[in-house]
């Protein structure tokens, strides 16, 4: 047990010995070690958050065929720090008639709900916050806190447009939780456990190859949960200016913004854990926990890049189309995928890995093709109906 194979154990052992030498009681020493672990994890995540600001702006610039920030420091790397200084020195305005406690609590809860998610992420085989055996449900629970913070922000701003923005955003969030839970249950069924560690350990074949439809629905629902385009009716500037965070200035808005970026990175990480094998890469993770952590971060960055790619490519969806997409397409499809996966997993239990993988993949692709055919048929019928009505109206007007 040296520093390379088990860094957390070695450091914790050394600190524990130090505390015992200062004759600190055992329970206090244990509590202090856990507190230090929490502080280290949160600080690491916030540092990654700062870098994500830079990553976001550079990537969006490349998507839009320009350079992005390149003046402040080499390759614009100091840009996030300039942003932070700008946000900190802005005037801190509280709107008249706003409910002070709720108004100030909302951005804190929003960032808190994202940081809570990192407690169950398995960064390496031995580096994780806590090995909850109900990890998949914990993700939804942390999302519930985020939803609450949005309502609090919208209501406490004493602004009708903030309230309307919050209502719309929460309607979308609560709606898209359903297909997200259903597709998160697919890796649960395949791995036999809801815990993130167990799901990563069980992925000898990545679940994106066993169940690509579930991965696709999960990322769509996750993008809606994040409140990013094409589901970003919060930043629909032409409609409601800035939604529930209209009245937030300075660092409070900074907390919302940083929380949103970190939330996107976190869901990139969960997409990697649930469907892309987490920290596993053909056995490379056995080289050491830092290699495993680097693999997970690379996969999380890939997921984050996919989310950004979708954001800067697809147009915003109207709210009623968004909800119709969820309830009439994504939710039935997600439950169909879950049903199919559960049935096939039970039927194919004894067969070899190749047969199992091929059957699952084929079933997923077949289900996706059937769903697309149904949607295509439906839109064709709708188009002939409206074209027929338009043609009838044109002939009636021309007559």
């Amino acid at each position: 047990m040296n520093l390379w194979t088990d860094p957390i154990g070695v450091i914790a052992g050394w600190l524990g010995g130090l505390l015992a030498a200062w004759s600190v009681p055992a329970w206090l020493a244990g509590f202090a070690l856990q507190l230090i672990g929490v502080v280290v994890l949160v600080s690491l995540m916030m540092i990654i958050d700062i870098l994500l600001v830079w990553v976001e702006r550079k990537v969006v610039a490349r998507f839009q065929d320009r350079l992005g920030p390149n003046r402040v420091g080499p390759f614009g790397l100091i840009q996030p720090f300039a942003d932070i200084v700008k946000l900190l020195i802005k005037e801190d305005i509280t709107p008249n008639g706003a409910d002070r406690v709720v108004y100030n609590l909302a951005p804190i809860l929003s960032l808190m709900s994202v940081l809570l998610l990192w407690a169950i992420v398995p960064i390496a085989p031995k580096i994780f916050g806590v090995d909850l055996n109900v990890g998949a449900l914990y993700i939804i629970a942390a999302g519930a806190i985020g939803t609450l913070s949005i309502i609090m922000a919208g209501w406490a701003s004493n602004n009708k447009y903030a309230l309307i923005g919050a209502f719309r955003q929460v309607a979308v969030l609560v709606s898209f939780e359903v297909p997200m839970i259903a597709t998160m249950l697919v890796p649960t069924v395949l791995a036999g456990s809801m815990g993130m560690n167990a799901i990563v350990q069980a992925q000898n074949v990545w679940y994106v190859f066993t169940s690509p439809l579930a991965a696709l629905i999960f990322i769509v629902a996750a993008i809606a949960e994040l409140g990013r385009a094409p589901f970003d009716l919060n930043e629909a500037e032409s409609e409601i200016v800035a939604g529930f965070h209209i009245e937030y200035t300075g660092m409070k808005f900074g907390l919302f913004y940083a929380g949103e970026l970190l939330h996107a990175f976190t869901f990139g990480g969960f997409w990697a854990i649930l469907f892309f094998g987490g920290y596993r890469l053909f056995g490379l993770e056995r080289l050491g926990p830092l290699v495993a952590a680097a693999i997970l971060m690379a996969k999380a960055l890939f997921g984050y890049w996919v989310i950004m790619w979708v954001r800067y490519t697809v147009m915003r969806v109207r709210i009623d189309h968004m909800l119709a997409l969820n309830w009439k397409f994504l939710t039935p499809l997600a439950f169909a995928v879950l049903l199919l996966t559960a049935i096939l997993h039970t039927l194919l239990r004894g067969t070899s890995a190749a047969v199992y993988g091929a059957c699952m993949l084929f079933a997923n692709l077949a289900l996706g093709a059937i769903a697309l055919e149904i949607v295509r048929d439906f839109t064709k019928r709708q188009r002939t109906r409206t074209d027929g009505a338009a043609a009838a109206a044109a002939t009636a007007a021309g007559r």
């Binding site: 709720v102 449900l137 939804i140 999302g143 519930a144 806190i145 609450l148 309230l163 929460v170």
Partner: protein, 169 residues
């Protein structure tokens, strides 16, 4: 005082304190938010009782859905954004008397029961509560029938709620 007892006392204080705020505060939105605090405290109590799955389900269902439903209902049923006037009935002291009497009655009945001061048995090692719960909910000789009836009840409530609150354009 063991650490577990200190934690229980702290959580119990949070639960009862925020429950009192729920039923006495003047602003209804604050009452709904204090209810969220109470529900978090109850989830912590479930975790103390080694029912971790129930703790997280409590957060997901109660805070993630029911509390949000309450906040929406409060916002949709008021004429202006600020509450005015008294929030208690004219006969609220009678309600307080009834509540105190019921608490005293419950305590008296419970004291007479000999299992009142039981201490918890240790769970056997390797007991997977989540797997056991899942088995109990789907096995034919366990509780699959109440489970399915509960899902039918939720379907009926869904249809009923949509029909009642639907506005015809």
């Amino acid at each position: 005082m063991v650490a577990a007892q200190v934690i229980f006392l702290a959580v119990g204080l949070i639960v009862l304190g925020s429950a009192v705020m729920v039923v006495t505060t003047r602003s209804l939105i604050h009452a709904a938010l204090w209810l969220v605090v109470t529900l978090f405290g109850v989830a912590a109590l479930y975790a103390i009782l080694n029912a971790g799955f129930l703790a997280i389900v409590q957060v997901v269902i109660y805070i993630g859905a029911i509390a949000i439903l309450f906040i929406f209902a409060v916002m949709l049923t008021r004429k202006d954004l600020r509450d005015r006037g008294a929030q208690q009935n004219p006969g609220w002291w009678l309600g307080a008397v009834v509540a105190v009497l019921s608490f005293a009655g419950l305590l008296t009945v419970m004291r007479g029961w000999e299992g009142f001061s039981a201490v918890p048995a240790n769970t056997p090692a390797g007991f997977d509560a989540v797997a056991a719960l899942g088995n109990a909910l789907v096995q034919p000789d366990a509780f699959v029938l109440p489970f399915e009836v509960a899902s039918l009840l939720l379907l009926a409530a869904l249809v009923g709620a949509v029909y009642i609150a639907f506005t015809r354009k």
